[in-house]
């Protein structure tokens, strides 16, 4: 299971890099996030809300440069869409040291949409792009 998840994660990362990543919320448009801008957050995960309709990761941006220091809330898509992109609710946990590339809210408040998150300890990266999964029988990709 673990190795297949790693494969899925690797594939997701690959796909995410190959195509422009569009973190898409389940229930509202996401143009409040500025996709022209990517900011790095570097710090510690404080909370993970693995909840519908959008998962959120709270990151204390203690070591980041280029984004305001302090607690940020980073939005993702729904748990279902994330699972279909190879995530589980335990891959990012409170206390984890992470680097997160985010598209910030345009209004300058400390919120953003996730583009990619990397766990400092393992180097493992996760992303997702539900628009890049628009074909049937995706499981056939995983062995490749």
């Amino acid at each position: 299971m673990k190795s297949s998840l790693t494969k899925v994660a690797a594939l997701s990362t690959l796909l995410g890099l190959a195509a422009a990543t569009y973190p898409v919320a389940a229930h509202h448009s996401t143009t409040m996030f500025d996709r022209e801008k990517t900011l790095p957050l570097v710090g510690t995960v404080k909370e993970l809300h693995w909840t519908n309709p959008h998962v959120a990761i709270f990151i204390d941006n203690s070591a980041g440069q280029g984004a305001a220091p302090g607690l940020w809330v980073i939005e993702l898509t729904s748990p279902g869409n994330l699972v279909r992109s190879g995530w589980t609710r335990t891959i990012v946990k409170p206390g984890d040291k992470v680097t997160a590339d985010i598209h910030p809210l345009r209004d300058g408040t400390k919120g953003g949409a996730l583009r990619k998150i990397t766990l400092t300890d393992t180097g493992q990266s996760y992303t997702y792009n539900i628009r890049d999964q628009e074909r049937p029988n995706l499981e056939q990709d995983y062995g490749k």
Partner: protein, 274 residues
């Protein structure tokens, strides 16, 4: 005297007639228990098992290529909504975790669904809104004369070969005819939706919709929405309780697991920390 007797007799007959009429009116319509033959008949239907996800890029494309024939007032609203969305201020349509409803579920969802066949019924189960659901009666019943309005309306369906043809009325006037998650107009009532579900390819489900919404559109609008199938268990539909996002899991002073409200805006977005 004879006249009086006749009058009393007539009145009594009228009472009996009324009572019979009233009993007839209240007699419940019984849904018969399905027979073994009914279950066997389901095997003849096309295979729509698995999990169906929407082709969102086609939804995106149709905002540009297939706009509903809005009346001028609705067109003005949609033009403003799209401009706001482009400017980074997307107007929230689906607020407070109310269901997207019909026809927005079919038009703009980003989440998966599954289709269940049972005798006399097709059921669509979806992953969002707090677990969305459509019941489509295929037992030959008509629509009620005056159905209570609901988010998904009253749907009756019939099989035309391998296609399911569905007719829906009784949708709440507040339900959006939406072209995206940020652009759409409440149908305002009297909406009628027909749909044709069919496999366009082995693992591709098409839904041809024709939406008549005379309060906001000048003529019926046709659109086809595309869903693609996954069979891997990784893709199984999961619970999707929308209101969850307004809370975070926590523990109260007595050690009981509870949900703690988190600050959010009307669109359901968590308010960033100060």
């Amino acid at each position: 005297m004879r006249l009086w007797l006749s009058a009393i007799l007539l009145a009594m007959l009228a009472c009996v007639g009324l009572a019979a009429h009233s009993a007839e009116k209240q007699k419940p319509v019984i849904n018969p228990p399905p027979t073994a033959k009914d279950w066997a008949e389901l095997a003849k239907l096309p295979d729509w098992s698995g999990v169906w996800n929407p082709k969102i890029t086609d939804q995106d494309a149709q905002v540009k290529t297939n706009m509903p024939p809005w009346n001028s007032k609705a067109a003005e609203l949609v033009k403003w909504q799209l401009a706001e969305e482009r400017a980074g201020r997307p107007p929230p349509l689906f607020v407070n975790c109310l269901p997207e409803g019909m026809p927005a579920w079919m038009l703009v969802t980003h989440n998966s669904m599954e289709v269940l066949f049972t005798p006399g019924r097709v059921t669509l189960l979806g992953e969002s809104d707090g677990n969305r659901l459509r019941r489509i009666y295929t037992d030959g019943r008509p629509h009620p004369a005056d159905p209570d309005p609901t988010f998904h309306g009253h749907s009756i369906g019939k099989w035309d070969g391998n296609a399911l043809v569905v007719d829906t009325i009784g949708v709440v006037p507040q339900a959006y005819v939406a072209v995206s998650e940020a652009a759409g107009v409440p149908n305002n009532g009297d909406m009628h939706i027909t749909e044709r579900f069919y496999l366009a390819d082995k693992d591709i489900l098409h839904v041809d919709l024709e939406i008549t919404a005379p309060k906001v559109m000048i003529k019926p609008w046709k659109t086809t929405r595309i869903f693609f199938r996954q069979r891997a268990r990784l893709y199984d539909v999961v619970e999707g309780v929308c209101l969850e996002g307004y809370f975070k899991p926590g523990v109260d002073k007595d050690g009981y697991a509870i949900y703690i409200p988190v600050p959010h805006d009307v669109g359901g977005n968590r308010v960033p920390p100060k």
